[in-house]
């Protein structure tokens, strides 16, 4: 185990790939995929803080492993998420998906421990390339197109990161990945790159577009890494950057409206994920120790309950072939355990007391209150009620209860139930006993979530919101689930720009062809004229015999002589 101490955690995942390929497809491979995150987690748990595994590269020193409390908590939850995701995907026998999951988790963990921006860039692109295969693995035409859109945006984010790094290096002479202040073009580019992956408003649509297109298990794995890596990167690079407070607040707000009227439940969860990221981004923007602890702990809890929700909807998709709310309902009869796990996830994301969301989101809410941002605080409280509406109520209610769809699918496979059960256990355990999680956080915390005012306030908010839902349902005001899609900003690049380009290319093409026509007709006229003057039928082109040539020369000479004589 000596070698393990010196090995960057990400290399464990890369080194596992040849072993994986050497094994026959089947249980052994599935077991390896569970073993690797466990070993990685154990390594991260036991590593001392500090920077090691330095490598010389093109005259730069790359820090492959920077272990501190912030990177450790993200590294640990990524290992746990990889383990749970692979357990959920135990039945998958698709080498592409399995390797993608392995490289994806490895890249995300590598990025978290990157001590410099160049290493970060390599892993940043690694997550993009590995993860797209979880979408393409669906192997349909639509998945191919969706994956391409996803990949273009993810790769662009990496290219912008590289550009920012180069500018920053020219400016400061350092590639260290540490706290930055927005100002120069370099830092703004890095900020933008992080923002794209973090699904900032207007840069967010890749998330809702791509996650519902991935495979059943792929979406569960996708939901854990990319965006939380971006949250980590923002927390590392831009903690205390005030603009993030406002960006985050908008992020908590707008997705809840879209989630409310979306029919595909996996897309509802993608909107909901976006909203949860908003809370974390606000925490980063506030930037105090309490707020950053809130962000880190919320990311930890969020990865678990979000995975749990994606797992339960995924299990329904696996058994029924659809994840559309309009086609589902009443599944509790034959999938009661999945329904229960879904309810645990719903209670956790809604932040009911005794569930994980409650003990982590309160830190961020309190931080905005302590730093006196009343409007932001009010927005976050509203967004909390919004979370309840789509993730707390809509997902479990319209899938497992509500009107009976008549579907009687079999309960989820055992390994899926196991994965959901363990995840649900963590959701409850963190909620009931948050101290071990608090101990992992970047700063020493003295925070008590279970005060009377916290508990009663939160219960009031949630129960009255539930009551509002019940009233709206009974009065028929609540919008029904219908088969339709909703436009979002991706309309710009999926419909508007292609149309504009098509229009433009049509116009340009017309101008070009009429230009060509006129040139052609002019040329034709010129050729005709030339032919008329110099063609074989005309006088100028008549062949001459040598005799007549000599005669004409003699005549010419004679004329010259006469002219000379006269003059």
């Amino acid at each position: 185990m000596m070698a393990l101490d010196m090995m960057p955690t990400a290399f464990l995942f890369l080194a596992a790939a040849p072993v994986f390929l050497a094994l026959p497809q089947g249980m052994l491979r599935a077991m390896l995929l569970l073993l690797v995150p466990l070993i990685a987690g154990w390594q991260i748990w036991t590593l001392p803080e500090g920077t090691f595994a330095q490598v010389q590269f093109l005259g730069m020193t790359l820090d492959m492993m920077r272990v501190d409390k912030l990177s450790r908590v993200f590294g640990l939850i990524f290992c746990l998420a990889a383990f749970l995701g692979n357990l959920y995907a135990w039945h998958v026998r698709d080498t592409v998906q399995q390797l993608a999951a392995l490289f994806y988790a490895g890249s995300a963990i590598g990025a978290v421990f990157a001590g410099d921006l160049v290493t970060l860039f390599f892993y940043w692109e690694g997550t993009a390339i590995a993860s797209v295969f979880l979408i393409w693995a669906r192997r349909t035409e639509a998945a191919y197109h969706t994956g391409l859109r996803y990949l273009i945006i993810q790769i662009t984010s990496g290219v912008i990161l590289l550009a920012g790094t180069a500018l920053l290096f020219r400016e400061t002479g350092s590639i260290a990945f540490q706290t930055m202040t927005l100002g120069s073009l370099g830092t703004w580019l890095i900020f933008l790159s992080f923002g794209m992956k973090c699904a900032f408003p207007l840069l967010h649509n890749w998330l809702q577009d791509s996650y519902p297109a991935a495979t059943v298990t792929g979406t569960v794995i996708l939901s854990a890494f990319t965006t939380k890596l971006a949250v980590y990167a923002l927390a590392r690079g831009f903690a205390g950057t005030e603009i993030l407070i406002y960006i985050g607040a908008v992020m908590t707000l707008f997705p809840i409206f879209f989630a409310e009227i979306e029919n595909d439940l996996r897309r509802v969860l993608a909107y909901s994920l976006n909203n949860q990221l908003g809370f974390m981004v606000v925490g980063i923007g506030v930037g105090t120790e309490l707020a950053l602890n809130g962000t880190a702990s919320h990311a930890f809890a969020h990865i678990l309950y979000k995975a749990l929700l994606f797992m339960s909807v995924g299990a329904v998709l696996f058994r029924t072939g659809t994840s559309k709310a309009s086609e589902l309902g009443g599944l509790y009869r034959t999938m009661p355990r999945t329904a229960m796990f879904c309810l645990v996830g719903a209670a956790s994301i809604s932040a009911f007391p005794l569930f994980s969301g409650f003990v982590t989101k309160s830190l961020i809410l309190d931080a905005t209150a302590v730093e006196h941002y009343p409007v932001i605080w009010a927005v976050l409280v509203f967004a909390s009620a919004g979370v309840l509406s789509h993730s707390g109520i809509k997902i479990p209610y319209f899938t497992f209860f509500a009107h009976d769809s008549g579907l009687r699918p079999k309960e989820a496979p055992i390994h899926m139930q196991l994965a959901m059960g363990i995840t649900a256990f963590f959701c409850v355990a963190i909620g009931v006993y948050p101290e071990p999680l608090y101990a992992l956080l970047p700063y020493e915390v003295e925070f008590h979530p279970y005060t009377t005012s916290h508990v009663v306030g939160q219960l009031q908010l949630l129960c009255f919101a539930l009551l509002a839902f019940a009233v709206l349902m009974r009065t028929g005001i609540h919008p029904p689930e219908i088969r339709a899609i909703n436009l979002d900003t991706d309309w710009v690049y999926r419909r508007f720009l292609p149309r504009v380009i098509a229009q433009l290319s049509g116009t340009v093409g017309q101008i070009w062809s009429s230009l060509e026509d006129s040139i052609e007709s002019r040329l034709a006229r010129m050729i005709t004229l030339l032919y008329r003057l110099h063609g074989s039928e005309t006088g100028l082109a008549r062949p001459m015999r040598p005799g007549s040539m000599v005669l004409w020369v003699a005549v010419l000479l004679g004329v010259t002589l006469v002219v000379n004589f006269i003059v």
Binding site: A143, L317, S453, V456, I477, R495
Partner: protein
């Protein structure tokens, strides 16, 4: 294709049959009124302890309840209005989007609870 009265639920998992209570006649009403009572209780609970919120508005009894009820209702109404403008048919983006496509059946295990 709703549950017919003659449907044999004996083959359903035990937990599913227990949960079946929610679909019995009158259960929905019972749940609703239980929720009303719970909300009333929570509202009254605000008078039993000293509140020390960061903002003055937090000290108003039932603030969170009222805020939650009003904002939730607003959210639904705004979302419902939004839908009028942005709703499109499922095949709007054609073959380049998964919305109008069936999930490939080969990657699923569509089985009914009774094995059918």
């Amino acid at each position: 294709m709703a549950q017919s009265p003659s449907e044999n639920t004996d083959t359903h998992p035990v937990l599913g049959r227990i949960l079946g209570w929610v679909d019995r006649p009158g259960s929905a009403n019972r749940i609703f009124w239980a929720l009303v009572v719970l909300c009333g209780g929570l509202f009254l609970a605000d008078f039993t302890y000293h509140k020390h919120g960061h903002f003055a508005v937090e000290n108003v009894p039932g603030f969170y309840g009222i805020y939650g009820f009003v904002m939730f209702t607003l959210l639904i109404l705004v979302a419902k209005t939004l839908r009028i403008f942005i709703k499109r048919p499922e095949d709007y983006y054609g073959k380049a989007a998964v919305d109008s496509e069936d999930y490939p059946a080969a990657q699923l295990e569509k089985v009914d609870h009774d094995g059918a």
